[in-house]
């Protein structure tokens, strides 16, 4: 009886159990169905989406940075090139005690506090997984030394990068300029210019000089490589590749020998020199002294060097030839002379007896000549040869400021010459409108008188003076001054060589031009203000001396160089062309605080011309005073 009950219970238990098993089986099937539904959703409905994601995951576009173009002078001397620099990099995430590791590193490789400071700044600005440079430009010896004990420095590695090098350093720093690391501001600019795409992978960009103005030619075309990467971003294999196109090489018209001669001719003086070819506007020499070592800037200049350069009283970073504005002084007179002739205010035969000063009608104020008592009878030729001030006071008064401004403006004063490096200063050719705008003051008759001898409000750059002189030398052909002669691609195919551009032509009477040119030739002959510099030349040359005042001399006082602080002495100017018959070179010399043009600037010009025509390299000059 009991057994039956138990058996019945047992059968019932098995039935219950099996029901529960069936329920379980149903749940199993349902849940597997759920999985299958999920797989269907992922692999059929969303397959395209996930395939795209998988592709994006594995395929990375890596930019291939092109090699930057090389810059040569007119004779093939290298002015800017690339070399491989070794940089020591650290991945902060892979180094346990960073400070201790760097301390240890410093025992085998020199790490300056500046290096550390820069590294720490980079570390703050980047993720800790990024490889960051701590020392750049390792020497071969340092590379070898690190390599042999690299096992001691996990997370540190030496990387090779192409780096810009300027073998001539300071000599052409103000022409070539330099490249620097691309900044956020550069990125914004590139984005605005729609050039950003070409700079993926580029680390440097032209900052100033040729490097900046010819950036797009020098940079080249960035290539791209489609690579398959793993989850950490390491490339596994290349899928496709568009090779980069190296930047174009540039051949400049600059003659490094002439440049060297000019720098040596300056000796210890500060100043600027611009020399160009009047037949096409090609720059032959372009000096701003002192210069600086552009190599310092390539990888970011360090704090100390920056302060040394930026705070130096000699202002080596200032491009005097391009941006330095000075009163042109007496070098302004040849253009005044042409204005007088062309506008009919003076004739070739006119002469007057110079009392040594000029006063406006009804005024007792005396505009004094540089020579007390005057020069006696002065005609136009003599006015230039001995640089008579009184002649030009009167001429300015007769011409009036508007005539002066409009006529002389044609020679390029008061506006950019359009030279192919950036940052050019426009100078200033004053006019009543300008004075009204600038000072809200009326133009006074006396203002005109100072302008007549290149002083007063007048300001021009050495480049502008050279440009004006070119027009005088080549019968008024306004060639745009330029450095680049030829652009050649990486495979030596000519890209462009038509850099010569005649912007406009001045219509000047040959009779007047010849007269002025002959007068300027006489400047370098006995009796002229530059006679000493012009003695015993193997070629003919014409020029005009000038002195540009740094401080105002009060009425009734005389300028006495020995009494004035050296930095307040006048700037010496000389602008010239040679040979007189068919000029091949035009040049302007500015010597800061050099005193008078005839004694300081003209001899420098002579030395440069001697090199140009005869090939004699000058000895560095002795500094006067």
């Amino acid at each position: 009886m009991n057994d039956t009950v138990e058996l019945r219970d047992h059968i019932r238990e098995i039935r219950y159990f099996r029901i529960r098993l069936i329920i379980s089986a149903i749940v199993v099937v349902v849940l597997f169905g759920l999985l299958l539904g999920r797989f269907f959703y992922l692999q059929v409905s969303q397959a395209e989406h996930y395939t795209t994601l998988a592709e994006a995951n594995r395929i990375a576009i890596q930019p291939l940075t092109p090699n930057r173009g090389i810059i040569f002078d007119r004779n093939g001397e290298i002015l800017a090139q690339n070399y491989t620099a070794y940089t020591l990099e650290i991945v902060p995430d892979q180094v346990k005690d960073l400070d201790a590791a760097i301390d240890e590193l410093a025992t085998i490789i020199e790490i300056t506090p500046e290096d550390r400071r820069r590294f720490n700044k980079l570390k703050r600005d980047n993720t800790k997984f990024k490889s960051l440079p701590i020392r750049s430009r390792l020497t071969d010896f340092e590379v070898a030394r690190f390599a042999e004990s690299q096992y001691r420095f996990p997370g540190m590695d030496i990387k090779a990068y192409p780096l810009r090098h300027y073998p001539k350093g300071e000599l052409v720093s103000h022409v070539i300029g330099y490249i620097g690391r691309i900044s956020d501001k550069d990125l914004e600019q590139l984005e605005a210019d729609k050039r950003l795409k070409n700079y993926h992978g580029s680390t440097h960009i032209g900052r100033i000089g040729i490097e900046k103005s010819y950036e797009s030619a020098l940079h080249g075309q960035t290539g791209f490589e489609q690579v398959e990467t793993d989850a950490v971003g390491r490339p596994v294999r290349t899928l496709s590749r568009v090779a980069p196109v190296a930047g174009s090489d540039l051949a400049l018209s600059l003659d490094i020998g002439l440049q060297q001669a000019a720098v040596q001719a300056f000796g210890d003086y500060r100043g600027a020199l611009v020399a160009l070819d009047p037949s096409n506007g090609e720059i032959l020499a372009f000096v701003s002294k002192p210069g600086f070592d552009p190599n310092l800037f390539v990888d970011g200049i360090d704090h100390l060097n920056w302060r040394l350069l930026n705070e130096s009283i000699d202002r080596p970073l200032n491009n005097r030839a391009l941006r330095g504005v000075y009163p042109p002084g007496s070098t302004f007179k040849p253009f005044m002379a042409l204005a007088g002739l062309e506008l009919g205010k003076r004739s070739l035969g006119y002469a007057f007896n110079d009392p040594g000063f000029f006063s406006l009608p009804g005024s007792s104020h005396r505009f004094r000549d540089w020579k007390p008592g005057g020069h006696g009878w002065v005609d136009l030729r003599k006015s230039l040869v001995i640089s008579c001030d009184t002649y030009y006071y009167m001429l300015a008064h007769d011409l009036g400021i508007t005539n002066i401004h409009d006529f002389i403006g044609q020679f390029g004063f008061g506006k950019e010459t359009g030279i192919d490096i950036p940052g050019e200063a426009a100078g200033l050719l004053p006019s009543p409108e300008w004075k009204k705008r600038r000072f809200n003051q009326k133009w006074l008759p006396g203002d005109t008188i100072s302008v007549g001898i290149g002083q007063g409000f007048n300001l021009s750059t050495p480049l502008q003076l050279t440009f004006a002189m070119m027009l005088l030398a080549n019968d008024g052909k306004a060639y745009r001054p330029h450095f680049v002669k030829q652009q050649v691609d990486h495979y030596n195919n000519l890209v462009k060589d038509d850099f010569v551009e005649e912007v406009y032509r001045l219509n000047l009477k040959p009779e007047y031009l010849n007269y002025v040119r002959q007068a300027l030739a006489d400047v370098t002959r006995p009796g002229g203000t530059a006679s000493r510099a012009g003695a015993n030349t193997a070629y003919t040359f014409a020029g005009k001396t000038g002195t540009s005042q740094v401080i105002n001399i009060k009425q009734g006082e005389r300028y006495n160089a020995s009494k004035i602080d050296e930095r307040h002495r006048d700037h010496a100017l000389f602008t010239a062309f040679a040979p007189v018959e068919s000029p091949r070179i035009v040049l302007t010399v500015l010597v800061e605080n050099g005193g008078s043009g005839g004694s300081t600037a003209a001899p420098i010009a002579r030395k440069v011309l001697d090199y140009f025509f005869l090939g004699t390299m000058p000895e560095p000059a002795e500094k006067a005073g």
Binding site: Y16, F17, S24, V28, L42, Q43, N57
Partner: protein, 369 residues
């Protein structure tokens, strides 16, 4: 005479083996080896090592299959007690790895006692239910629940939430199959639903909370905890219907997948064999589970039924949770895909379970009188 001997030997070895089940297991293992080769980027060393794992696991299965059911039943209690003792030892002297105290260093080998309890707990509970002979009363369920909760509490404290949950589930299967009334289960469901928010706020570690949050929205933490889920979904999804082909899955070959040879091996399979492969694999698992359910249904004793049912459903749970986690519908918990993932411990545990099932199936079905 020799053929006879061979036949004898063959019989001796296969007497307690369920050929149908074995075929399913071998097929899954074979798939596992093929995927493993691809997941390791063509490493025959890993495959060899997994072959050794499989051989050991098969030996364990064979031994267990040859143990009569009664003896297995007698081992339930000692095994359970041993497990509890080891858990206490872990709590006191265990080694800390990855912030959790799970391992016990016995000098020669390191053991993870929670692994033993995956088998010992359902055995013990089934043994207890079997001992009562008569119809089960509510008191029996309470005792079974206590048997279950004791080790679970220890394991939660280690902390190893994943294993604790799996043991909890395998124990629940025993109780469920033993016939716990639907009303009580409904009550329990309500209780769990109510206690979940409390557990969320007070009973969970930050990383556990994060895992669940990540499951709900993987893109929230795309480079952190959600990375695995997203990459795994990408692998599966980009596999499409036919898959990218063996050894050709970009997600797996290029190391975008976490743990491609263990927990996430299914995404490798899925990427390379597509929806077709997935369907075949699910079918194969379904066949194995179906066979196990048949064995459970025809098991002779209450102990055998409960153990067989619980092992089967636990096996299913492993498969479901792993695939669910890899395909992004369940949180990421460290559960391998049975018979396919690389690893010795899980392989042995799984095949030990199948050994018990084979023992149930092949030993004389004595009807108790």
């Amino acid at each position: 005479m020799i053929p006879l001997n061979i036949k004898k030997v063959w019989l001796y070895f296969t007497r307690h083996i369920d050929n149908f089940l074995l075929a399913g297991i071998f097929l899954l293992m074979l798939i596992g080896l093929i995927v493993l080769y691809s997941a390791t980027g063509g490493s025959s060393a890993r495959v060899t090592s997994q072959l050794i794992n499989m051989a050991i696991a098969c030996a364990v299965m064979w031994v267990v299959a040859n143990i009569p059911l009664q003896r297995i039943m007698r081992m339930a209690f000692p095994l359970y007690v041993l497990g509890i003792v080891l858990l206490i030892a872990v709590a006191l002297f265990g080694e800390i790895q990855n912030g959790a105290r799970r391992w016990l260093n016995l000098g020669v080998i390191h053991v993870q006692p929670s692994e033993l309890l995956k088998i010992a707990v359902p055995l013990m509970m089934a043994w207890y239910f079997d001992k009562t002979h008569t119809a089960l009363r509510w008191r029996d369920y309470v005792v079974a629940a206590l048997i279950l909760l004791l080790p679970v509490v220890f394991i939660v404290r280690q902390p190893d939430l994943g294993t604790a949950l799996l043991i909890l589930i395998s124990g629940f299967y025993v109780i469920f199959l033993a016939g716990l009334s639907w009303r009580v289960m409904a009550g329990l469901t309500v209780a769990v639903a109510v206690s979940l928010p409390v557990l969320w706020s007070f009973g969970m570690h930050d990383y556990q909370r994060k895992r669940i949050m990540t499951m709900l929205d993987p893109s929230q933490d795309a480079l952190g905890a959600g990375y695995h889920t997203i990459q795994s979904s990408i692998a599966i999804g980009s596999g499409g219907i036919a898959g990218k082909g063996w050894m050709k899955g970009t997600q797996s070959q290029l190391d975008f997948l976490p743990e491609p040879s263990t927990d996430f091996i299914f995404s490798v399979f899925s990427e390379e064999f597509g929806l077709i492969g997935n369907s075949l694999l699910l079918s194969l698992y379904l066949i194995v589970i179906g066979r196990c359910l048949v064995i459970a249904a025809s098991a002779p004793t209450r102990f055998a039924r409960l153990v067989a049912g619980s092992i089967t459903l636990t096996f299913f749970t492993y498969v479901f949770v792993n695939m669910g986690m890899v395909s992004g519908i369940l949180p990421v918990v460290g559960i391998p895909l049975p018979l396919i993932s690389y690893g010795g411990t899980s392989m042995v545990t799984i095949l030990l379970g199948f050994g018990i099932l084979m023992s149930i199936q092949t030993h004389p079905k004595l009807v108790r009188t």
